[in-house]
Subunit: 416 residues, 2 copies
């Protein structure tokens, strides 16, 4: 079900029938990212409020008619998606935005949003008969691909910058990925991965290249809409690196408009780190995206040359949203605030959307009566070193009752 | 709903009406762990296959009539429980146990099984009007308590051995817990926590002391039974430290027998690390549990003086199960095997149950036609140092296509 009818170049608009080897527009080259278009009339018959109310499939696959995957394609047995959307009124009121929701995508099988894309990418690889799948990644896409490949007995070959957080590399190794630690940037790892995939005929799960990843990522938008009973929120905040997540969100809301399950597009707000804001600069200046040298603690969005820039810029402009950049200190502060106020522990890039919301509220860019959703894209356990930068060292005590009492009196008098 | 009718001492059998301050048997002292008993006739009217089929509450609270928590008690807004139970036939066949299921409790909000207990413990604290909750922990109970307290605006005071994995300490700090790093063992931290809680009148979320934790933990058994359509598996394997998880599992199956939703008790198999096997030794010798000096990589079950020994031993004996001990190398190997074959990344204690299953299969203690469930109790991201011990270092390459090609040829020839 939901076989794509067409692939359409986001750059030149040319349309193509899907073929296993067609990834980007032959006319525009690797920058010619493709959209997946459906027969929306048909989908609107298959995917309805009623069909979803009855569904007991609590994962991204509940939206199969809107996914480019055949009914009988093998899928990862791991439960991907259907992550919680928490109403967080008390934190919301504190920051001036009481109608606030947080979607915790760190609850995915490999603890990041990227599982949505990997699940669909891997299904497409299986449809094309290719059992070796590769990607370059700052970490999360890699561990996601590796974990989901492991669940299906497929091979993954991963190109990752040698500077990626240890937890992400540990995950890769445990999942049995074939890893190449590239002594360079993500952007270099990306190009090397792409070229090696071409010469080795590996299936390429690379953002901006593989058109099906956005389709996996859009499931977060479908879930947000369904959880909010098919009423679009006013604004959605999300961190932006390559631009694929934000592009996928837009596509999800777009598809729901097409099939009549939503009646308006929420404003989509892209948040980058101050030390790496090529998308924000493009939005600001109205010019094409210019590469930058990234410098931010938020490794997952430390992307100087965004591969899904076209889709990212479209998401922001078409939805009437805007782009922001936040300093690393505010990212760390967002991590602390979310942990302390909600019990959600996000990684730096995972909480950057929330840091952006706070800045937008300060700048008067969000009204206090607006319904806002912030996407938390990855679990903080993936980058403990950064988490430890966000917090101090706890006090120590010898194993003695008097010593303990002294520590409590000195550090936690409010508990006495 | 589901207010407990009685508390009953597991040691002497005396029964008590519940009161907020009653934690252990006044006659037996701190070792007099209590069971929570229900009016099972009444519960069997409220909790039926039909009521559960209709329920849209996909968390531990779907079993509210079997939980000791009032309807209107505030609960953590985080989604606890209802974790996936994966059928893993291919790995199962490989090891000689094709009807194998893995329950991944690393998918809980703070990435461990302990959230089940914390959710119920915190609800009971709120019922008793106490806003400061304390526990001692090897790590997971601590981060769980801290995260869930944060979600409700409560204070947590945490006693943790200074040797706990950094990720668990980072979690605690991000959740805003008041932490005391105790320069000693878990057993020392436990006693110090208990004594300080008494003198400061903090609510005590300590295993073996607080009778309501088992009730939270039993929800895993309820979920296993429901996922398997109310047919008990033949065997359930689980790692054992304090003994509270295994005791909770038994209690869950027991309660289902009482209300007629199951018709037999599965055999429950407790797996400990070779370097810390007091429960296994007690089962072996038939004598009371003797404290040991723990020495294992599996920090979450590195418990020399198990606080829930009575419930643990009962779970194994009463279910006709057995106990095993596995060396640390097999725990690390279990971590690798699970990661590579299923995409589930468990922490050392989290995969110890699986290491035990492999040993039991080798020893002829499990028949190949038996249905086996293994509980994975915590996410591997919580202990990356141990994970890195389980795997090697990945190869590195300069950012150059020829260099990359050489790495692939040398290390991953099967991908060419």
């Amino acid at each position: 079900m939901g076989e794509p009818i067409l692939l359409k170049c986001v750059g030149c608009g040319r349309e193509f029938a899907p073929e296993p080897s067609l990834f980007t527009c032959p006319d525009c080259g690797p920058s010619g990212t493709l959209d997946v278009l459906y027969d929306y009339d048909r989908v609107s018959e298959l995917l309805t409020r009623e069909s979803l109310d009855k569904s007991r499939e609590f994962s991204i696959w509940r939206y199969l008619p809107l996914l480019p995957v055949a009914h009988d394609t093998p899928r990862t047995p791991l439960t991907v998606g259907w992550t919680p959307l928490y109403r967080t009124e008390s934190l919301g009121s504190e920051i001036g935005c009481p109608d606030l929701f947080l979607k915790d995508d760190g609850r995915n099988p490999t603890a990041s949003f990227k599982d949505r894309a990997s699940a669909v990418g891997i299904a497409k690889a299986m449809e094309s008969g290719n059992n070796i799948i590769t990607c370059a990644s700052t970490g999360n896409a890699a561990s996601s691909l590796a974990g989901l490949c492991a669940s299906l007995g497929l091979r993954s070959v991963i190109f990752v910058p040698a500077t990626a957080p240890r937890a992400k590399i540990a995950q890769l190794l445990v999942y049995g990925a074939r890893i190449v630690l590239v002594e360079g940037t993500y952007d270099q790892a990306f190009d090397l991965c792409y070229d090696t995939a071409q010469s080795c005929a590996w299936y390429c799960r690379n953002t901006g290249i593989n058109p099906y990843l956005s389709e996996g990522k859009k499931t977060a938008a479908l879930e947000i809409a369904e959880h909010l009973n098919w009423e679009a929120p006013d604004k959605v905040f999300v961190s932006v690196g390559d631009g694929c997540i934000i592009g996928g969100l837009w596509k999800g809301f777009h598809d729901l408009l097409e099939i009549g399950l939503l009646d308006r597009m929420p404003q989509i707000i892209g948040v980058q780190a101050e030390g790496c804001q090529p998308i924000r600069q493009a939005i600001e200046t109205g010019k094409p995206v210019e590469p930058v040298s990234p410098d931010t603690i938020a490794d997952s969005i430390s992307v100087g040359r965004p591969r899904d820039a076209l889709k990212a810029v479209r998401a922001i402009r078409n939805s009437g949203g805007f782009a922001l950049a936040v300093p690393d200190e505010e990212i760390l502060d967002a991590m602390r605030t979310l942990g302390r106020s909600t019990g959600i522990f996000g990684e730096p890039a995972g909480v950057t959307g929330f840091a952006g919301l706070r800045q937008a509220l300060r700048d008067g860019l969000v009204r206090s009566d607006e319904r806002v959703v912030v996407l938390i894209t990855g679990n903080g356990l993936k980058d403990v070193d950064s988490a430890l930068k966000a917090v101090g060292e706890p006090p120590r005590a010898k194993p003695d009752l008097d010593e303990i009492r002294k520590v409590v009196e000195e550090h936690y008098p409010e508990c006495l």
